[in-house]
């Protein structure tokens, strides 16, 4: 328990540093802004109570907001992502359920499962984030293009990180 708290605390700090120092500076032609820190919400254990999940999502978003100078924007998106995570997990659950004490990882459940899982949550998160950012429905499809392209990059980076974790 303590171990996992420490582990997730470390991941948390690393991800935020990664996001703030590296990914926030990636901007391809105004369409691509990868937000990789979402992986923190992805990796939290299955058994985590939903209230804690929501609080942690909120905290993640809030800290990113502080560093990006956009109060509330990332928090809203991460809270939404944290809210839908249990439902997505339920939809994606294998026939005999998730293994006791396991984390949602590529190692345990395979690449395809992890890709679907990541794709759905990142899509939800990015959709919320980008539409909150423009805060209007004019240029709806332009925003949607941004969502899709950024999701593509975010998912790519998340998969890379997950590969790296597996290799360790």
């Amino acid at each position: 328990m303590i171990n996992s708290i420490l582990r997730f605390g470390l991941i948390f700090i690393l991800l935020i540093l990664l996001q703030v120092l590296l990914f926030n500076n990636i901007q391809f032609s105004g369409y691509v802004n990868p937000y990789v820190y979402v992986i923190f919400i992805l990796l939290l254990p299955f058994e985590i109570p939903s209230w804690l999940l929501l609080l942690l999502s909120f905290a993640t978003g809030l800290i990113i907001d502080f560093f990006s100078g956009s109060p509330g924007m990332h928090s809203s998106a991460t809270v939404i992502a944290g809210f839908v995570r249990p439902y997505i997990l339920r939809v994606l659950s294998p026939r005999d359920g998730y293994e006791q004490g396991s984390d949602p990882s590529m190692l345990t459940y395979g690449f395809r499962w992890f890709l679907t899982y990541t794709f759905l949550i990142v899509l939800v998160h990015h959709t919320a984030l980008f539409y909150l950012e423009v805060f209007r429905f004019t240029d709806f499809f332009r925003t949607m293009l941004r969502v899709l392209l950024s999701s593509l990059f975010s998912i790519t980076f998340i998969l890379l990180i997950e590969y790296y974790r597996r290799g360790k």
Partner: protein, 273 residues
């Protein structure tokens, strides 16, 4: 209470989500200028929309009162139109008599009953109170004096003919302006008597006699007749016989003249009597 707790336990997920999301949106709306403006504008337009709906509803609910007001206004406007427009079939039309600065209303009527052979003759015309005829209006035939309305029913009026012993009219000699009192002697339907003309006044046969307008019934200058004969009787006055211009035997179409300022004049005069 227990069901409330159950509810909270069941939806705690959703409730926490909504609280956190609310905080995030609040931060979003207050912390960013752009979002703040958007939210404020959005809320304002939302509120404006709601107020418009409320206003619409209120207007709808007040339609009854509004209708009543409109109806009242219609009535007022219609009556003012009635006052303003001269309709072709209207009974009265205004004549601004610029010479004498009096305003008279005119109407035409038909004589439907007439007598000339009594001492107190009356004739009946086919218009009454409903057509605006009132007591004490003047009746003329062509351009000569015929009588005075003395009674009105709804659609008929009775006029006292000039050929009535009670009929008195203030008239004057047109050429010199001396005025006297006209009355009927009770004998001849074509002649009347003009009295109270002093003897020093020059009177000639054929002089025109017209009304003075002192009575407030007849307008000034309505023709009565011409002098046919005059004689000096005892006292200082002439007895002038007037040949009436109105032929009462064949009187048929008459004009009725109402003096709009009669009441004003009479009330003023009453103060000094």
């Amino acid at each position: 209470m227990r069901s409330l707790l159950n509810f909270l336990a069941r939806y705690n997920n959703l409730i926490i989500f909504l609280i956190l999301e609310g905080i995030a949106i609040y931060l979003l709306a207050t912390g960013n200028n752009y979002h703040n403006t958007r939210v404020v504008n959005g809320i304002r337009s939302l509120i404006n929309g709601i107020e418009e709906r409320i206003n619409d509803t209120r207007t709808y609910l007040n339609l009854h009162t509004i209708n009543e007001n409109l109806a009242a206004e219609n009535v007022a406007l219609r009556s003012s139109i009635g006052r303003l427009i001269k309709r072709d079939n209207s009974l009265f039309f205004s004549v601004s008599d610029s010479i004498y600065r009096q305003q008279y209303l005119h109407a035409s009527a038909e004589v439907i009953n007439n007598s000339i052979n009594r001492q107190k003759n009356f004739f009946t015309i086919n218009k009454g109170a409903r057509q605006g005829i009132k007591v004490d209006m003047a009746v003329t035939s062509g351009n000569g004096v015929a009588g005075v309305i003395v009674g009105c029913s709804e659609n008929y009026s009775v006029a006292m003919s000039l050929l009535n012993l009670d009929f008195k009219l203030s008239v004057r000699i047109k050429s010199n302006g001396y005025f006297g009192s006209l009355s009927w002697a009770g004998r001849d339907y074509s002649h009347a008597i003009l009295s109270e003309i002093p003897q020093h006044v020059a009177v000639n046969a054929g002089d025109t006699i017209e009304t003075t307008g002192y009575s407030a019934i007849f307008p000034e200058g309505v023709m009565v007749g011409t002098v046919s004969d005059f004689e000096k009787i005892g006292g200082d006055f002439y007895k002038i016989t007037i040949l009436l211009i109105t032929d009462f035997k064949k009187i048929h179409f008459v004009d009725i003249i109402g003096n709009m300022k009669k009441t004003e004049q009479l009330e003023l005069e009453k103060l000094f009597q």
